[in-house]
């Protein structure tokens, strides 16, 4: 079965690019528009990977990751976050919240798919 990916981003354009790229690469993509939406959708479903922005209204990415890790739902699911700068401190905080890895914006289709394959173990 195709791997199920949840993408969480408040930017419609980023969501759309991500979805097009990942669908073309053969994944099933579900979208969420902010942290709260992401958390609810993650809890309701069963995903192989979650890709999330950090800077979002309602609930930011860090809070969402932390809440999801503590919820006991989707145990051990890889979570990749999007970040604009190579900000070491932010990475440390995101990892402390339970993130698996990151991808630096702007990214192209190739690098996105590469990271996804890396984290899903191909």
């Amino acid at each position: 079965m195709d791997a199920q990916i949840l993408t969480v981003d408040d930017s419609a354009s980023i969501r759309m690019t991500t979805k097009i790229t990942l669908t073309n690469a053969g994944y099933q993509v579900t979208e969420a528009v902010d942290g709260l939406d992401g958390l609810n959708k993650a809890k309701a479903g069963n995903y192989d990977l979650i890709i999330t922005d950090l800077n979002m209204p309602n609930m930011n990415g860090l809070q969402m990751i932390e809440a999801l890790r503590q919820s006991g739902s989707n145990v051990g699911v890889p979570i990749i976050f999007l970040t604009t700068e190579s900000d070491a401190e932010l990475k440390t905080r995101a990892k402390a919240a339970g993130a698996t890895g990151w991808i630096t914006k702007p990214f192209n289709a190739e690098s996105l798919v590469k990271i996804v394959q890396k984290v899903l173990g191909r």
Binding site: A12, S13, I14, N55, V119
Partner: protein, 663 residues
């Protein structure tokens, strides 16, 4: 339904502009409105990120500066002012234009608006219009011939719970080269304590590959800061170690890297984890204080024993003396940590910088096991980051330029540490383009640091790059940090009582050597008396001591120069400087101290003798007393202040300048 992401971005951008604009307008009514500050920041942030995604580079780099400005507001570093809000409001119209008709014809306007923005920020952060946004991309590998590596891999216990798939990583490693993998089960708990989500296995891998060390590290890119990873290059199998071949010596195991961020004790090579005890640093400091007190009490005891003249008492006193001395030495050793803990931070930095600059960089490290006092390590971190960034940003050339110059396309930055006597030498070396002396000189002259045409030694010229005001004119890129000049490096090294030495060959590379005392806690000093008080002069700065007779002193009134062989050295009468209100001794002494090139004489009433002493810091209430770098407690329980030779030399020089002007 739109299917073109760029069209979606344009729609989204116009919503963002509305959000930013309404936030800014609200802010004009109430500049302290946190919600609006956050909303504006978020809007700018998204605009920048999405803009860069869809090829609006002009928009992204311009918005980057506005975002940075608001980030400073958000963090409380600069206040939200009407001028700033208006500058961003104006800038917003420009951003719209950058989306409608992207292209270089906006550059002049971008520059102008950023100047206004900068002025609104109080000119504190210099923005430039060409701030770069990093593009993800990997430089090609250039290594030829395969190498065998031994890897020790231990992932954090919670790696699986946080979504890392260890098998995936091992598979990826198999993709890098030929692997022999063995699992290390030694820390596997018994069944009752087994938590299925925790990771208890570690792995030993022998990997043969043509790829470089950094490509192996890339496999672990998301966990490298949290895990223990040792990568050791094995000697070539076909050449027995120690064999002498045809002029090319066999390669020794070049360096062992232990990445164990935040775990200082783990990096000690050869010691088992179970043998180490973690102690909070402040307890060590407390213990150090107690030991200091003990040493002081001991010297009272030995004075007493000497005056009472009881043989038995003297024997006991000597025993206690020896023991407390040993205790202090042991204590000093406890505070030492290997510099490996410092070096390991640079893997990540170099990795990120490599991506940002598009330069292929290999970081080599050596001497990780060299031990330095923990306070020194903490203080060294920032200067080293700056020097490494500088080497990468300004030193190393891009891959094409390197190939053109007949170099390997991979630039090498190496960090090494060696101990030499009571000092540790940390060296930061690159094989880049070297320092262009003419440019340094021109820049120094432009900044007013050198008189045009002045004769300078090569070292003096190179040292210019550490002068305040030298690097301020430089544009701030993503790399070279915000407003941290090389003068900060100099200041920190001065504070550590260290020295900086630069070597550079044009076209070949540069090397910066930092010589730092092993410990900040103890100082060898010369104990002197000025008026009724005693002071310590760091012995490392003392060149010689001369007698200054009363007649000479009177004769030199109004001149304050002492002739020392062929040169005139300015001197400071510490009695006057410290306003002791006492009469001068008949036989005053003049202690000549130096900081590298500059010398000054310090006139004291009496030289008491050498004194090894534990340094105590002074409280912030005495931060204005800048002639002193600390204090120490003497054998009789009294306090002596430790002179800051750098400050005193500066005073001597300004006095000299005044005198010269008056003549």
């Amino acid at each position: 339904m739109m299917n073109d992401p760029i069209q979606v971005f344009r729609t989204e951008a116009s919503e963002l502009f509305e959000q930013i604009e309404s936030g800014l307008l609200d802010l004009l009514h109430d500049l302290s409105d946190r919600d609006q500050i956050d909303a504006v920041f978020r809007g700018l942030h998204t605009l920048k990120g999405s803009g860069a995604m869809f090829g609006f580079e002009g928009l992204a780099s311009f918005t980057h500066h506005c975002e940075t400005a608001f980030d400073q507001v958000r963090k409380g570093e600069v206040p939200a002012t009407e001028a700033l809000v208006s500058a961003i409001l104006n800038a917003q119209d420009h951003m719209k234009a950058l989306i409608e008709s992207p292209g270089p014809h906006h550059d002049a306007q971008s520059e102008r608006l950023l100047l206004t923005l900068n002025a609104a920020l109080g000119g504190s952060s210099s923005a430039s219009a060409d701030g770069q946004i990093a593009i993800e991309g990997k430089a090609p590998s250039t290594k030829t011939g395969s190498t065998t590596w031994r890897l020790k891999i231990r992932l954090p216990k919670n790696a699986m719970a946080n979504g890392t798939n260890p098998l995936g990583l091992l598979n990826e490693l198999r993709g890098v080269g030929e692997c022999e993998i063995t699992a290390d089960r030694t820390s596997f708990p018994d069944f009752l304590n087994l938590s299925p989500l925790d990771l208890h296995l570690a792995w030993d891998v022998t990997l043969t590959t043509e790829r470089s060390r950094s490509e192996i590290e890339d496999v672990f890119m998301f966990v490298i800061d949290d895990m223990q990873l040792e990568i050791q290059e094995l000697p070539m199998r076909s050449v027995p170690a120690g064999a002498v071949g045809d002029g090319s010596a066999p390669r020794p195991p070049q360096s062992v890297e232990t990445v164990a961020a935040g775990k200082l004790t783990d990096t000690k090579s050869g010691s088992k984890a179970g043998d180490n005890v973690k102690v909070p640093a402040e307890r060590l400091d407390e213990l150090m204080d107690r030991v200091g007190e003990l040493v002081i009490a001991q010297s009272r005891l030995s004075q007493l024993a000497a005056s009472i003249g009881n043989g038995q008492l003297r024997d006991v006193s000597e025993d206690v003396d020896r023991l407390s001395g040993e205790l202090r030495d042991t204590m000093m050793v406890l505070r030492m940590v290997p510099v490996g803990s410092l070096f390991s931070r640079f893997r990540r930095l170099v990795h990120d910088l490599s991506r940002e600059t598009g330069k292929t960089i290999e970081l080599q490290t050596d001497g990780e096991s060299t031990e330095v006092d923990k306070t020194v390590i903490e203080r060294l971190a920032d200067p080293l980051v700056h020097l490494v960034r500088n080497a990468i940003d300004h030193g190393l050339e891009g891959p094409e330029e390197r190939l053109r110059n007949g170099k390997s396309s991979t630039g090498i930055v190496s960090l090494s540490a060696t101990q030499a006597g009571g000092e540790v030498v940390i060296s930061i070396k690159d094989d880049g383009r070297g320092i262009n002396r003419e440019r340094v000189r021109a820049k120094g002259e432009a900044a007013g640091l050198v008189q045009p045409g002045a004769v300078m030694s090569d070292q003096e010229l190179l040292q210019l790059i550490f002068k305040p005001g030298f690097s301020t004119a430089e544009k701030i890129t993503n790399l070279s940090g915000r407003g941290v000049g090389m003068d900060v490096v100099r200041r920190t090294i001065d504070e550590l009582r260290g020295t900086i030495d630069i070597r550079s060959e044009f076209g070949v590379g540069s090397e910066v050597n930092l010589r730092i005392p092993l410990t900040l806690a103890i100082i060898d000093g010369l104990l002197v008396r000025v008026g009724d008080s005693r002071y310590v002069i760091p012995l490392s700065a003392v060149e010689e001591c001369l007698e200054l007779s009363l007649e000479e002193d009177i004769r030199s009134r109004g001149r304050s120069f002492i002739s020392l062989r062929d040169s005139l050295v300015p001197f400071l009468r510490l009695r006057d400087l410290f306003a002791t209100g006492t009469e001068p001794e008949l036989h005053q002494k003049c202690v000549i101290v130096s900081t590298g090139n500059e010398r000054v004489g310090l006139v004291v009433d009496q030289i008491i003798g050498d004194h090894q002493t534990v340094i105590k810091s002074m409280s912030k209430l005495h931060s204005t007393a800048d002639m002193f770098s600390g204090a120490t407690i003497l054998g009789d329980g009294g306090v002596a202040l430790i002179m800051d030779v750098n400050q005193l030399v500066l005073r001597g020089q300004s006095k000299e300048a005044l005198m010269r002007a008056a003549v």
